[in-house]
């Protein structure tokens, strides 16, 4: 298993890894970065193409303001320095999905640079306690917060889509995606393991969605990652060589590709080969990276300043001459930016300090349940209910959502309102704690997310039995069916009650309150003895 192999390499003390990312984020704007066509995904092929998008002779780019604003929000969220003058450049290469023969990007003069991003390390609780590596933990109740420096952020646009038709030996091009706005975030190689990499990317993803920089859409992946990985012997300086792994599409792919690379490079180093610059791609089926091209084949992109776009000037409150004019003001954007995920979590710890600990929050984060938790909390109006909800989230929901992997599906099927309703019913003892797992599973499986809780309870008869008389009837019946236990009660009352409890629960799945039924049995049995 690549993960354990890589972990072994890193914890052996003989090697260290340097990992950096180049992350392409698709900006959530209505139109494209340099043309007025819509950037909506999954539209009819080649229906969103202006003259500029297909590089018609005479066409010109015109910069989209909302792309700039989204980029500035990203720069602020990543604590970058905003460069008040930056330039667009052309990056030349021939490929069918690039109609002009070049991409407009910011190579030499990006609009943001020198930032740092703090992210919580997502590690399972038990591993956290046992591992000696994570000596950054001051107390077990706090998050391990790591940091990764950001080298630069640049504005650029996306290419079209190539669809390779092997049967008819041709490639089809869809230019709908061409020209949609992107930012590329380049980090410094501060990431030291696949775990750190995944944690970083998850927190970054939260920030990008929260700041409305990209969309969380099922139609197209908004975020694509290239990873640069190099392994070095401990106490040696890095020589600048690294392996670039292109186009990783999911968090799991990133994790596995990095782990594979670490193990592969360890083999090379151990056999006295050195790491040379190389570009590789990740095979999701075989869980391995594959060679793509060597350094000598690296392409010279002939970067040239884009002559049709003047230099990009950014302004802030100090630039008085822009007052009254409708220019983008960095300080304005700063004032209106939403709270960062990091600060928001601190707020939760404070707001819900009666029952929420850092450890809880960390687990919610690891399970990708923070948003769901937040929404559920708003539908419950006292801390007692909220505490119950938290406990259910971290047990039943954790299990039903496969340790958070299917949490998105769960959140869609079981809306926060429905969940809150369930918790209220639980608190009122209309349903029992034991019925929750089954109930939640049923709701999760249902295709109709608008169904009321009542309809579920009615259909599957899941109401707790609260009526004393009814309960007594049931218990009497159970006693009749289990005469042995009546006798046993005289000598071993505890065991007898347990057995009776088991029997009644078997018969009335999840509808029995432990304390109620125990009391009833005790009363009935004591009466008999008398």
């Amino acid at each position: 298993m690549a993960a354990t192999a890589a972990a072994a390499v890193l914890s052996s003390g003989r090697f260290y890894a340097l990992i950096g990312f180049e992350i392409h984020v698709k900006l959530a704007t209505h139109s494209k970065m340099f043309s007025s066509s819509s950037s909506a995904p999954a539209q009819t092929t080649n229906s969103q193409v202006t003259p500029f998008d297909m590089a018609l002779p005479g066409s010109l780019p015109y910069f989209n303001r909302t792309c700039l604003e989204a980029g500035i929000r990203a720069a602020i969220g990543l604590n970058c320095q905003l460069n008040k003058i930056s330039h667009f450049e052309r990056k030349h290469y021939f490929y069918p999905d690039s109609p002009a023969g070049y991409q407009i990007t910011q190579q030499r003069y990006p609009f943001a640079s020198n930032g740092v991003f703090h992210y919580p390390l997502l590690i399972k609780k038990d591993k956290l306690k046992s591992s000696t590596k994570y000596k950054f933990v001051d107390n077990q109740n706090s998050f391990v917060i790591k940091q990764c420096r950001i080298e630069r952020i640049q504005l650029e646009h996306d290419t079209g889509r190539s669809i390779h038709d092997d049967h008819q030996n041709r490639t089809l091009i869809d230019l709908n995606r061409f020209g949609t706005g992107l930012i590329e975030i380049v980090t410094k190689p501060d990431i030291q393991s696949s775990l750190e990499g995944e944690s970083f990317l998850r927190e970054l993803n939260r920030l990008l969605i929260k700041y409305n920089i990209c969309e969380q859409s099922g139609l197209e992946t908004a975020v694509r990652v290239d990873a640069n990985v190099s392994l070095h012997r401990m106490n040696t300086k890095p020589d600048g060589n690294r392996i670039e792994i292109k186009n990783l599409g999911s968090f799991i792919d990133v994790r596995q590709a990095i782990d594979f690379e670490i193990k592969r490079q360890e083999q090379l180093l151990t056999n006295n080969y050195s790491i040379k610059n190389e570009t590789r791609t990740y095979d999701t089926n075989k869980y391995q990276t594959i060679h793509l091209r060597r350094k000598e084949d690296q392409i010279d992109y002939r970067f040239m300043i884009e002559p049709n776009l003047p230099p990009l000037y950014l302004y802030d409150d100090n630039d008085k001459h822009i007052y009254g004019k409708n220019f983008v003001n960095i300080d304005d954007i700063k004032r209106n930016i939403p709270i960062s995920p990091l600060d928001e979590r601190k707020q939760y710890l404070d707001k819900y300090k009666d029952f929420l600990t850092a450890e809880h929050l960390h687990e919610l984060l690891r399970l990708d349940m923070i948003d769901y938790f937040r929404d559920v909390m708003t539908h419950l109006d006292n801390n007692h209910l909220r505490h119950i909800a938290l406990e259910v989230l971290l047990s039943d929901v954790k299990s039903i959502s496969y340790d958070g992997r299917k949490i998105r599906k769960f959140a869609q099927a079981v809306s926060p309102i429905l969940f809150a309703d369930i918790i209220k019913h639980l608190e009122k003892r209309i349903i029992t704690r034991f019925s929750l797992y089954t109930l939640l599973t049923l709701c999760n499986k249902s295709r109709d997310s608008t169904r009321s809780l009542k309809s579920f309870l009615d259909e599957h008869n899941m109401y707790a039995i609260n009526d004393e008389n009814e309960l007594e009837k049931i218990c009497l019946k159970i006693l009749e069916e289990n005469p042995k236990q009546i006798d046993r009660y005289k000598t071993n009352p505890k065991k007898a009650l347990e057995q009776l409890h088991t029997s009644v629960c078997k018969k009335y799945h999840g509808r029995i309150h432990d304390d109620l039924v125990n009391d009833v049995f005790k009363r009935l049995l004591d009466k008999r003895i008398k």
């Binding site: 018609l56 002779p57 005479g58 015109y62 069918p96 023969g101 010279d300 992109y301 003047p310």
Partner: protein, 491 residues
């Protein structure tokens, strides 16, 4: 102006002239039928009072016009019909201009002879040379019309139309205007929208006009200048119309004109130098002009900087011509063997001319990572030097405008041009400076040479002082009469 008589039609006259003088090869393709229709419509509608209303005009074939062939005189775009119209052309149409055809040019606007894939434009003055006939076939010897907007220049010079649209990147309006004997105006960079004009060198390209009098230049420029929402290199402030000679105050202030020593080069023929000097003397005598010799020390380097910067942008702008989206696509495909790169190479080899390919090659060389600083960036520094030269002369030396040559000698014959091997012309030294610095410049005919060809000179003005430049040109040109050609009289 629109005629009331049903028998005479300005468009019809233009069409007759163009067809009669097909030998000059001024058009790449025509819009004759549509033009006649439009003329009919306009005479009924009577939409506006624009001085251009109903005027037949020609536009250079590097301006897109919806559903019309826009070829740039290249095999690559020989079948290209633009799905949209360039801003400038649309504004002309909105003013009531009638587009009669697209004019011939150098391929993709590269060159000074207007000789692209559809053959050369001939200088209309060749037809006045009854003594010059080819001994072998008794045909009139034809001469170059200048370039790259030769078709537009020739048509206006011969009076087929009164106004034509061209483009000037390194002199492509001023050069053919001087060769053919008409006015050629390149406004300040950033006044006229380039949307829809096929890009050659985005940093230098400027649309501009040919005309037979300066007021027409003003009417045409007024109709089209000003911001649009799609060209980010335009000045954003609204455009104030230029005033014509009638509208300006009659008060005549003294004009100080600079004579750049660095433009007085060896290659300038004595006849052409004499024309320059004679004009200076004549104007001095009127008492309204003072002439000062000025220095533009970066001039000898301007050609090199222009060459490098233009090659780089050309290589970049030409990268889009792959035949996949539009344009020529090779038919010579080996389905079993050919890769994307192979097909691309064949397509471009087959359809791009030698001069174009040469510039692309050079540009790609200069843009290599290891060369970018040495060539591109260094050329930009030289360019700044050129700009500062002009700035100093205009601001510190208090010069109103400069008077300089445009070409150094009479045009050579088409046969001689075919033998020659140059990629760049030595005359570029006169014209590229104004493009490097984005300055307004106007070429005007002065007199005929001893062999009977027009000799032209140019005025170069400070950035955004186009109004002053046009007024000065008007004043200078009213001090003499140039014998404009009119080939329509002989039909």
């Amino acid at each position: 102006m629109l005629s009331n008589k049903t028998t005479s039609s300005a468009v019809r006259s233009a069409i007759n002239a163009l067809q009669h003088y097909k030998v000059l090869n001024t058009l790449t393709n025509d819009c004759f039928d549509k033009a006649l229709e439009t003329e009919q419509q306009l005479s009924i509608e009577k939409k506006n009072n624009s001085p251009l209303y109903g005027r037949p005009i020609l536009i250079k074939d590097n301006f897109c016009l919806r559903d019309t062939l826009t070829t740039c005189a290249s095999k690559m775009l020989a079948n290209f019909r633009a799905p949209y119209t360039s801003t400038i052309v649309q504004r002309l149409i909105d003013h009531g201009c009638i587009i009669v055809g697209k004019t011939n040019m150098d391929e993709f606007a590269m060159g000074v002879a207007s000789w692209g894939a559809f053959g050369p434009v001939a200088n209309p003055w060749s037809l006045t040379k009854t003594t010059m006939t080819n001994v072998e076939n008794n045909k009139t010897v034809l001469h170059v019309a200048g370039g790259s907007s030769g078709g537009s220049a020739a048509a206006v010079a011969a009076n087929f139309v009164s106004i034509a649209l061209g483009s000037d990147t390194g002199g492509s309006i001023r050069n053919p205007a001087a060769r053919c004997g008409c006015y050629g105006f390149k406004p300040s960079y950033g006044l006229l929208s380039r949307l829809g004009m096929v890009a050659l060198v985005n940093s230098f390209d400027s649309p501009g006009f040919f005309a037979r009098n300066i007021d027409d230049l003003i009417f045409a420029t007024n109709a089209v200048a000003g911001p649009d929402d799609e060209d980010a290199t335009l000045l954003s402030k609204p455009f104030e119309n230029f005033k014509t000679s009638n509208e300006l105050s009659k008060e005549k202030k003294k004009i100080i004109i600079g004579l750049p020593d660095d433009y007085d080069v060896n290659t300038l023929s004595s006849e052409y130098r004499l024309c320059w000097q004679d004009l200076v003397h004549r104007l001095t005598e009127t008492g309204e002009y003072t002439f000062k010799r000025v220095q533009l020390p970066y001039t000898p380097y301007s050609n090199a900087a222009y060459t490098i910067l233009s090659s780089c942008e050309i290589a970049s702008n030409m990268a889009r011509y792959d035949g996949i989206k539009y344009g020529h696509h090779t038919k010579n495909i080996d389905k079993n063997k050919d890769t994307y790169e192979d097909i691309l190479k064949k397509t471009r080899d087959e359809s791009l001319g030698e001069r174009v390919r040469g510039r692309i090659l050079a540009g790609n060389y200069y843009l290599l990572e290891e060369n970018y600083d040495k060539y591109f960036v260094q050329s930009q520094r030289v360019r700044r030097g050129v700009m500062n030269d002009y700035k100093k002369v205009f601001e510190e030396d208090k010069i109103d405008c400069l008077l300089a040559p445009v070409v150094s000698n009479d045009p050579i014959t088409l046969a001689e041009y075919e033998q020659a091997d140059d990629i760049f012309s030595e005359d570029d030294i006169f014209t590229v400076g104004a493009n490097l610095a984005g300055l307004p410049a106007l070429s005007f005919p002065v007199r005929l040479s001893s062999k009977g060809f027009p000799i032209g000179l140019q005025l170069i003005g400070p950035f955004l002082k186009d109004q002053e430049l046009l007024s000065t040109a008007y004043r200078i040109c009213s001090t003499y009469q140039f014998p404009f050609l009119d080939l329509t009289k002989q039909i």
